[in-house]
Symmetry: C2
Subunit: 383 residues, 2 copies
């Protein structure tokens, strides 16, 4: 018997209630039955995004929504600022370059959170910047950027929009799209929304919808104006990912039953506990700025073969952690707190690290990580 | 109790074995476990497409793959020929126009199958045509186009590619991509592949891959060269639709266990039986050329309110048929034979038509449709 524990920052475990919902016989998408589910899911998404605007659903992965954010609002030659502090910052850069933007970059060490003043100063010197792109949580480094502060800086500028990849922040950290001045917010189904991958979400502010009016890059599948027209009537321009949307309705029911504040608090506590644990074991956290509550990354000892450890844990022990990407490959481990993840999942994640790393010859006081996590978690269980 | 029967041409019923496979706990996509499933699914797809080239999987609906077909192979200003004989022919036209092609059209009455000589003559007069686009089966009219004959015409022309929307023909009618000279073949998960929507497939011939070398339209999410590089190593550029791909592996096992020849024959027999039935009931078939075995469309009596009938059948009787689109709205009914559909599903579909239309006051000999279908089906049951 090998029980499986999915502890990587996406895809995340799907609750049994949602698996069973999605295992129901297929239904047709051009029906009142589906439109009702769609409308309910849509209303729930608005609550999570904290927006009065439509949150559009696209059949595709998060990258499709990132591309949609750019090609629907900007034009070739537009000056854009990308905060690049990890693999997904680089994705904003790559997509923008693909479509001919004039890409300016604030490049940071992996693990950093950007100082909002850097963005403010850039915009003062470059008032012709059409968009600022960033991650809420940079999944590759498990660092969080202060999108509230940056949003408030950009919101006073009528000719600049703020585009946020919230793929591992929305549903994890409270995100007040409208109040903070986020103009385009993007996320996907397989993170905080606890669903299989294949469904992406994107919401635009009124300012961003105005940008769409002058955006000339040809688009068809990812044409957001066409989707808006359809989705306002609780349908989609093209065949939607019916099953995942049916699951989404159940997920949103679960999140709203728990209470969004409690969802965010749960991620915070599991993040705090994991950070305390890996530090008690003597490891250095990867985030040097604000840590994200989506996942916790930490450095392995110098010369340790991280790839072998992650593979052993996944194949022989049953726990799927994430390793590092690009230059951090083999050098870090990332432990997810995303979605359907409780205090005891955190204990399992840390216990797996302790027993596994110990077998791989790493020295630390056995049990120190679990104990440190328990000191935090004990205050919340049974509440 | 209201049992549900999904008889519209997509989404189609998903076999229980596949629903249960997809209800298993989520797995991570960057693992040997998933890559093994991916590789097996990929090998199965090649058998259905009859191609030695890769069949790429994209997280998106069929329209995403249609757009990918165009933007990866063609350039703005390219002369393209679209065979427009229904709603999905129009989609080729719309996507091509969106990306600036010089769109030439062979426009046909809805229900017709194109005469391949029309395409041949066009290409003789327009040797600079870069692509011909068509549907294998035009879902809106249930007519089949002779893509083999057209493929053979185009295959001798090195500067013209043949792009086929096989969304309701691949897996229904035998499709020999390589032998017939199809350069780009596209389909989706929710038709013959008996899966939920959200996964699209696209395969390119060597000739089409050469066209990609000179194609300049910017593309990121739908960049097929990047996908090819990844998918040759049994992974994907962006997070794939994990659940549906796991289901695909099971579907392909089922199709190959049945034998592809038997799959096609089953669609043929259910199509023949349904066509015989609706004609025995006195209705006129919508296809005037070659009927598709994906679905059967027929005209309702003049003045009959088709929309009300389809709604009544779906909501009160439990059978989801499809009505007509655009100018055929309310005037036709389409009955699907796609995917997980056997002889008795055909009987249910026809019996539903007989009892339902009779209740709506349409006159015909009760039982004539079922009897006509049975005369055909009886020769195959138990074989």
């Amino acid at each position: 018997m090998l029980k499986k524990y999915l502890m990587a920052p996406g895809p995340t475990p799907v609750p049994e209630r949602v698996l069973l919902e999605m295992a129901k016989p297929m239904i047709h998408h051009r029906t009142d039955e589906f439109s009702k589910t769609f409308a309910e899911a849509s209303a729930g998404l608005k609550k999570v995004f904290n927006t009065k605007n439509e949150v559009l659903m696209l059949a595709g992965s998060g990258t499709a929504a990132m591309e949609a954010a750019i090609i629907n609002t900007l034009n070739p030659g537009d000056k854009v600022l990308v905060v690049d502090a990890g693999k997904f910052g680089q994705r904003w850069k790559n997509i923008s370059k693909t479509f001919g933007m004039d890409v300016q970059v604030i490049e940071l060490e992996w693990g950093s959170s950007v100082d909002p003043a850097l963005v403010e100063n850039f915009l003062k010197s470059n008032p012709d910047t059409r968009a600022v792109m960033i991650q809420g949580s940079e999944t590759s480094t498990t660092a969080y950027h202060d999108i509230e502060a940056i949003g408030r800086i950009i919101s006073s500028r009528p000719d600049t929009i703020f585009i946020v990849d919230g793929i591992t922040s929305i549903g994890v950290h409270e995100t007040k799209m409208d109040e903070w001045g986020i103009d385009v917010a993007v996320t996907g189904s397989q993170k905080a929304f606890m669903l299989p991958p294949g469904l992406a979400f994107i919401a635009l502010s009124e300012k961003a919808w105005k940008f769409c009016e002058t955006a000339t890059i040809p688009r068809y599948y990812l044409d957001l104006k066409r989707e808006l027209k359809n989705q306002l009537e609780s349908t989609t321009a093209y065949t939607p990912a019916v099953t995942i949307i049916n699951g989404l309705k159940v997920v949103l029911d679960m999140m709203l039953e728990e209470g969004l504040e409690n969802v965010y608090k749960r991620h915070q506590i599991n993040g705090d506990a994991t950070r305390a644990a890996v530090q008690a074991m003597g490891f250095k956290l990867l985030p040097t700025g604000t840590p994200s509550n989506a996942a916790t990354g930490f450095y392995l000892p110098e010369g340790f073969e991280g790839g072998k450890f992650v593979k052993f844990m996944r194949e022989k022990v049953g726990i799927t952690y994430a390793g590092g990407q690009d230059h951090l490959k083999g050098r870090i481990v990332r432990v997810s707190h995303l979605g359907y993840h409780d205090a005891f999942d955190t204990i399992v994640a840390i216990s797996g690290l302790e027993m596994g790393l110990s077998r791989f010859g790493v020295k630390f006081q056995m049990g120190a990580g679990v104990a440190a996590a328990q000191e935090i978690l004990k205050n919340y269980i049974g509440e």
